[in-house]
């Protein structure tokens, strides 16, 4: 028995779950000031779209002559289905943003019929956005149940297993997920630091009024951000579709990790989520391994309490403080 190796291996799946569960939520919260309580249901949409696409539902759509995923070679069918899941969820997020979060569509109609807007956007209205998105989540769970029944037939877990001695083994796919999680964080870093959209998004967070007066279309930034966050939730659903039972309430299983990670990580999406994933992943792996799943989950919440008490702005604020101090010294 090598506890070191064991712990290292067990760290990867918990890191992956925390990072993937949190990124979409963190982006929408960090940039738009909207707490998306329907985050779990966005993940569910991603999982459903992936599973349905994988099982050939695209071919059954009107105007589609052949199932576009069925004609692909076997090895890329699952990635193609996952891509479908991401796109469907991003599109779905766009619709939710236009109709509920920003209220642009109902306002457009209202202005032409009764001559005044009826909905105030949800940006930076934390409590209101929670109620609105909670409503969305309730509607979605029951709607999906009505449309697709109580469960979908799942997708098998790809890749097989990885043995690491002493009769211990783990599903290789879970290790792959940790790599994907790291890749997602890297890509987000590039998006926020190297692209025009990223610059506009950061400007919008820092000072919305100033950004607007300098010609940034903040509303468009918000729209893109919500779609990006939704797409990431969809990616999480797509990646976890093979691992989980596909049922309407499946999104609830991601919420604890997602919210704890956002609380622990703090405002900065990339640095915060990376640090939160690292710390929480380690804590969970350690306690779940030695004392069982229950202890692992309790410790996630204990860490959240400690962080709120001692570093209320989250771990990323700690990094900023250290960076500022270094800047002063040099």
């Amino acid at each position: 028995m090598a506890p070191g190796v064991d712990l290292l291996v067990q760290f990867f799946p918990s890191f992956a779950k925390i990072v993937l569960a949190a990124t979409g939520l963190a982006i929408i919260f960090g940039i738009m000031g909207v707490i998306n309580l329907a985050h779990g249901e966005f993940i569910m949409v991603g999982a459903y779209a992936t599973t349905l696409a994988y099982n050939g539902a695209l071919g059954a759509l009107p105007l589609v002559p052949v199932d576009p995923i069925g004609v692909l070679p076997g090895a890329v069918q699952l990635p193609a289905a996952m891509l479908t899941g991401v796109l469907v969820t991003a599109l779905f997020g766009l619709v939710v943003e236009r109709t509920v979060i920003s209220g642009a569509v109902p306002n457009w109609i209202a202005e032409r019929t009764i001559g005044r807007p009826v909905v105030k956007p949800m940006y930076d209205r934390l409590l209101d956005s929670m109620v609105a998105t909670w409503g969305i989540s309730l509607i979605m769970v029951q709607l999906v149940r009505n449309l697709y029944g109580n469960s979908l037939n799942g997708i098998g877990i790809p890749f097989g297993q990885f043995s690491y001695g002493n009769g211990l083994s783990i599903s290789t796919y879970k290790l792959v997920l940790a790599g994907v999680a790291a890749l997602v964080l890297l890509l987000l870093y590039v998006v926020f630091v190297r692209t025009d959209y990223g610059m506009r998004a950061r400007a919008t967070i820092q000072n919305e009024g100033m950004a607007k007066s300098l010609g940034v279309d903040t509303e468009r930034t918000y729209m893109a951000t919500f779609a990006l966050g939704s797409g990431l939730a969809g990616l999480t659903g797509a990646l976890y579709a093979p691992l989980q039972t596909i049922v309407p309430g499946m999104g609830g299983g991601f919420l604890v990790e997602a919210f704890v990670a956002v609380v622990v990580g703090g405002a900065s999406v990339v640095v915060g989520t990376l640090l939160a994933g690292g710390l929480l992943g380690f804590v969970y792996a350690l306690f779940a391994n030695v004392w069982g799943t229950f202890a692992g989950r309790i410790m996630l919440l204990v860490v959240a309490i400690l962080v709120i008490r001692f570093v209320p702005q989250g771990l990323s604020s700690l990094v900023e403080r250290i960076r500022d101090r270094w800047a002063e010294v040099s």
């Binding site: 028995m1 109580n150 499946m250 779940a288 799943t293």
Partner: protein, 424 residues
Amino acid sequence: MTKRVDRRKFLAGGASIATAGLAGCALMGGGSSDTIKLGILEDQSGNFALVGSPKHKASLLAIEEINNDGGINGQQIEYYDPDPQSSNDRYLELTRRMVQQRDVDALWAGYSSATRETIRPYIDQQDQLYFYTTQYEGGVCDKNVFAVGPTARQQLGSVLPYLVEEYGPRIYTIAADYNFGQLSADWVKVLADENDAEVIGEEFIPLSNSQFSSTINRIQDADPDFVMSMLVGQNHTSFYEQKASAGLDIPIGTSTAMAQGYEHLRLDPPAMANIYAGVNYMQEIPTNRNTRDGGFVDRYYDMWPDAPYLNEEAENNYFSIYMYKRAVEQAGTTDQEEVKAALESGITYPAPEAPDGEEIKLVPETHHVNHHMWVMRADENHNVEAVDDRVIDETFLKDTVGCDLTSKDEEKQYTPQDYYEEAG
């Protein structure tokens, strides 16, 4: 002026509604109705819909069969089946409505033990006749409750001795972290002790958990001869796929998987390979009553062609409605006290779970059923076959506790901790 008219109209309307309501009550309250009224509260939506809707469907099958066959003592059955939506609050509200407004003659209600315990105080207060049909942790000794599903001791008592015999005495228990899982794990300890086996490790898993790497890892580390799994709910179902993918190939005994949520049909093989379920019924059990042309399975799917599965609890609803029919025929009335007395006279029924020539027996003293239990094994292609079967009596209430409802009016639930040192 218009306002006053409106108000008067409103008052008049209100009064007529109130009168209609009273009239309705008076009609319902009359004991001379010519139909027998049954309340069927089973989840058709919400968290338990997957396992609850087969119960609902099989109840309606039994009622339709009885009505087509001339009813009970010439009376047709009328049923009320609003959807409790897997919500305990709604169960309580609907149970009250069934009793107060519908004046039902008997009630079938609820999937989980939490639901049963939510409505049981009201049932007892009103001294109703209530059938609880889910397999459960056992121990309910209640004059008004007929808990006709198998108990944990019956289910685990069928599969655990078989696995000890086949694979060896070292057991690792994983169970859902709530009342049912904790008590079931206690029963594993009691049964392990009785069968010269030992529990070398146990883990209780929160219902919200759906990632099992560390659990799988801990099981591999302990290296037991077999695992006993009392995992519950959709999140926990993911365990079976994940353990197969991780290469965990230790045999698993269970009282919860396959027979209720048909995981062997929903999950990709080989997730359920080498899993042994101790159950009184699954649609695959090979009795003539169940599988012959025009048998139970055929009749169910004739009525419900789109139903995904016919599960353990569905059969329990089905045979208990027939047991109720026999009791009413014997009592010659639907008066609840007299029907209870008839049910306590040793009613039997040729249920689909029992082979030809055998009838399962409702035990008068405990209101539980001595079931014909099956050990069902799924292979790597998820084909399910019976590997062992025998009648297992309900012994905990009958012998260990000494519950005797024919002589003493009780309304209590007993737990194994009160009687076994190992369970403490």
